[in-house]
């Protein structure tokens, strides 16, 4: 039943948002606020009904599926034309690139990003307040997030030396601070 509520609430919220965003000329603030409110209300309802974590996770999945159904129902089918719309979308930066820059970027996004993320995670695990077990788990969750952010940043940033300095500095500082403090 809770899954059904999530799908129904998700459909209602997504329908309101679709109507709001279908109007390309006006900001339909009322519909947008209502749409998000219905989605948030669905999460809260399921969380209250079947449990905070269990209900929220279930609602997020249900809303996702419902919104996809609403989207597919409203799809537009058009004849094939030359790429007018494609040309209006953002295009990636392209151009000749040197091999060493590619290797350095891979190094920055991979191993160095990982060690910097570990530095942040261990720093949190050792210095943050609270029970050590909670700090380790939250630190553990921070690690992939920080690594993913480092990947995103280093692959987009053309100033490789800056990225290198920041990641190296974060690694050294994070590991040093964590080793100084220990798990108290």
């Amino acid at each position: 039943m809770a899954a059904l509520v999530a799908v129904i609430g998700g459909s209602a919220g997504a329908t309101l948002l679709r109507r709001a965003w279908a109007d390309r000329l006006r900001e339909r603030v009322g519909l947008i606020v209502s749409g998000w409110a219905v989605l948030a209300g669905t999460v809260l309802l399921d969380a209250a009904w079947v449990g905070r974590v269990k209900g929220s996770a279930l609602a997020v999945a249900g809303i996702g599926v419902a919104a996809l159904i609403v989207m597919f129902q409203g799809r537009t089918v058009r004849a094939a034309r030359a790429g007018r719309s494609a040309s209006l979308a953002p295009e990636p930066l392209e151009g000749p690139s040197k091999a060493w820059r590619g290797w350095l970027k891979a190094l920055l996004a991979g191993p160095l990003g990982m060690t910097a993320a570990m530095g942040i995670a261990f720093c949190y695990a050792t210095w943050a307040p609270g029970d050590p077990r909670t700090r380790i788990i939250i630190g553990g969750l921070l690690m992939p997030i920080a690594w993913a952010l480092a990947m995103t940043w280093t692959l987009a940033d053309q100033r490789l030396l800056r990225s290198l300095a920041v990641l190296l500095g974060t690694t050294v500082a994070g590991f040093t601070l964590a080793a100084m403090r220990g798990l108290v």
Binding site: A2, A3, A6, L17, W21, A22, R24, E27, V50, G51, R52, V53, K54, A57, L58, V60, A61, G62, G64, V65, A67, L68, M71, G74, R75, T76, V77, R78, A79, A80, R81, G83, A86, A89, P90, E91, P92, L93, M118, A125, G130, P132, R133, T134, I136, I137, G140, M143, P144, I145, W147, A148, L149, M151, T152, L155, A156, F175, A178, A179
Partner: protein, 498 residues
């Protein structure tokens, strides 16, 4: 009233157009570098959500029970203790109305065996090679756990990063959240599907990528943390989350009767119902028996009652006694696999997992289409990607057929999968006459035919029960959808959003 130009970023968008292009470039590089492995992990993950259903399907003669007869649990555990490897820890999953089956796993790091007991405690060996293969491929790619886990964890990080850069690189991602165009140019069509599936399933995909990355990288994180703080002693880090083992006393001692212990755990747990029994050092005086009980509103069991070999309560813990970190640790796996909340949750997870497979696959197709539009087509990569995108479902279907036909030869499955993967890539790479769009239709039909073959082999080799019928129907529907041409019938020509 404000008219927004197509190329303008919406008000408040944090990135300049140049940065958006740079982020999009990074999104493309990362996506291409990890596309194949993200796709494989997502595809197997989508199937792993249904691992228990698949296990029931491939072994329909495994007993289905909702409760043990009096004394049957003790008989079942004694049999497992005698039949399993020496010094094994026994994990007993108790049956319930919601999960009508019991299982006993006798585990040692070197070897483990699993049985499904019936209502009277008689054991049937569990033989579920297909479900085991899928879960192991998803979790560790059938590599040694530390290496495989790291690669899968790295894949989770790459996916998380792709999701972040995907959002940052699309300033109109919310405004266009329902803007799905079909039938136009291939690239626009693919881009719309990629972006729309990506945005509406985003919270789910972020949660899956994050929990998956943490699960995969946990061995590395613990190892480095231990090196930093405990001179490499990982047991000290793990020890923070586990009960210290009882003092060694290897003198032989029989296990106490189990049912009174479950009754005691039930009495102490209030609304919690015993869900699992873990027996360590069975047959010795220092044996420890842990009963975990679950509550309806919690993601994982958080009530634990620990008994000694005489059946005395040694420790009793309930949700209020647990710190946040311990509660989170227990929930990460359940949240990742969707093994909570029953079939409705598994179906929702399955659909969103499928969406992630499509997002990944279409991401590569967009890059290929962009190259083609600019007169720099890469036909070899187009063919190879078709070989991966359709070759993997085909390989998994062949694994399924082999697992059904020869369940005792589970070691064969990895070779079948590797041969099918290598074969599909070689054939796709060598087939120079292969046209990406027409060829894909043919390969899709091949996948549909292999799905039908899977359903057919099942009918030939297994008695059809309720779970068998449900899975057969799912296979037939899947094959039917694959045989069908993509829908191109107009629904709303000239819609306002177009």
């Amino acid at each position: 009233m404000k008219t927004i130009g197509k190329q303008d970023a919406p008000r408040g968008w944090p990135l300049s157009p140049a940065t958006v292009r740079a982020v999009l470039s990074g999104h493309g590089i990362l996506g291409l570098a990890f596309a194949a492995i993200i796709y494989l992990v997502c595809l197997t993950g989508t199937l792993a959500v249904f691992a228990h259903d698949i296990a029931r399907w491939e072994q329909p003669d495994a007993p289905s029970i909702t409760a043990f007869a009096p004394g049957a649990l003790d008989r079942a555990v004694r049999s497992a203790q005698e039949s399993g490897p020496a010094h094994a820890t026994l994990y007993v999953s108790l049956p319930s109305l919601e999960e009508p089956e019991a299982s006993i796993i006798a585990y040692t790091p070197a070897l483990h065996r699993e049985w499904a007991p019936d209502r009277n405690g008689t054991l049937t060996e569990r033989r579920t090679p297909i479900a085991d293969f899928l879960v192991d491929l998803h979790v560790a790619l059938h590599l040694p756990r530390a290496w495989g886990g790291f690669i899968v964890g790295l894949t989770g990080v790459a996916l998380l990063s792709s999701l972040m850069s995907g959002i940052l690189a699309h300033p109109r991602i919310f405004k266009d959240a329902f803007h799905l165009r079909r039938g136009g140019t291939r690239r626009v069509q693919e881009a719309d599907l990629h972006n729309r599936l990506g945005i509406w399933a985003l919270p789910f995909h972020v949660a899956i990528a994050l929990t998956g990355a943490l699960l995969g990288l946990s061995t590395l994180i613990v190892g480095v943390l231990a090196m930093l703080l405990y001179r490499g002693d990982t047991a000290k880090v793990y020890g923070l989350f586990t009960e210290a083992p009882p003092a060694i006393n290897a003198v032989a001692a029989p296990l106490p009767p189990l049912e009174p212990m479950l009754a005691e755990a039930r009495r102490r747990g209030g609304s919690a119902t015993p869900h699992q029994l873990i027996i360590e050092r069975a047959g010795r005086t220092d044996a420890r028996l842990t009963v975990s009980s679950e509550r309806d509103r919690l993601l994982v069991p958080q009530d634990t009652t620990i008994f000694d070999v005489k059946g005395n309560v040694v420790k009793d813990r309930h949700p209020a006694d647990l710190v946040l970190g311990t509660r989170m640790l227990g929930g990460i796996g359940q949240l990742h696999f969707g093994w909570f909340g029953g079939l409705p949750v598994r179906l929702l997870y399955g659909l969103l997992g499928l969406a992630l497979c499509i997002v990944t696959s279409r991401g590569v197709t967009i890059w290929l289409a962009r190259r083609r539009d600019r007169g720099r087509a890469v036909p070899l990569w187009e063919r190879l990607w078709a070989g991966i995108a359709w070759g993997q479902p085909l390989a998994l279907a062949l694994v399924g057929v082999t697992g059904l036909a020869a369940p005792a030869h589970d070691g064969l499955l990895i070779w079948i999968w590797m041969a099918a993967t290598a074969g599909s890539l070689t054939i796709a790479g060598a087939a120079k006459g292969f046209d990406a769009s027409n060829g894909a239709v043919r390969v899709r039909r091949l996948v549909a035919a292999s799905t039908l073959a899977l359903a057919l082999v099942y009918v030939i080799t297994r008695p059809i029960g309720l779970s068998g019928i449900a899975m057969e129907l799912a296979l037939l529907i899947g094959a039917g959808l694959l045989f069908r041409h993509p829908a191109t019938k107009p629904r709303r020509e000239g819609h306002a959003a177009a």
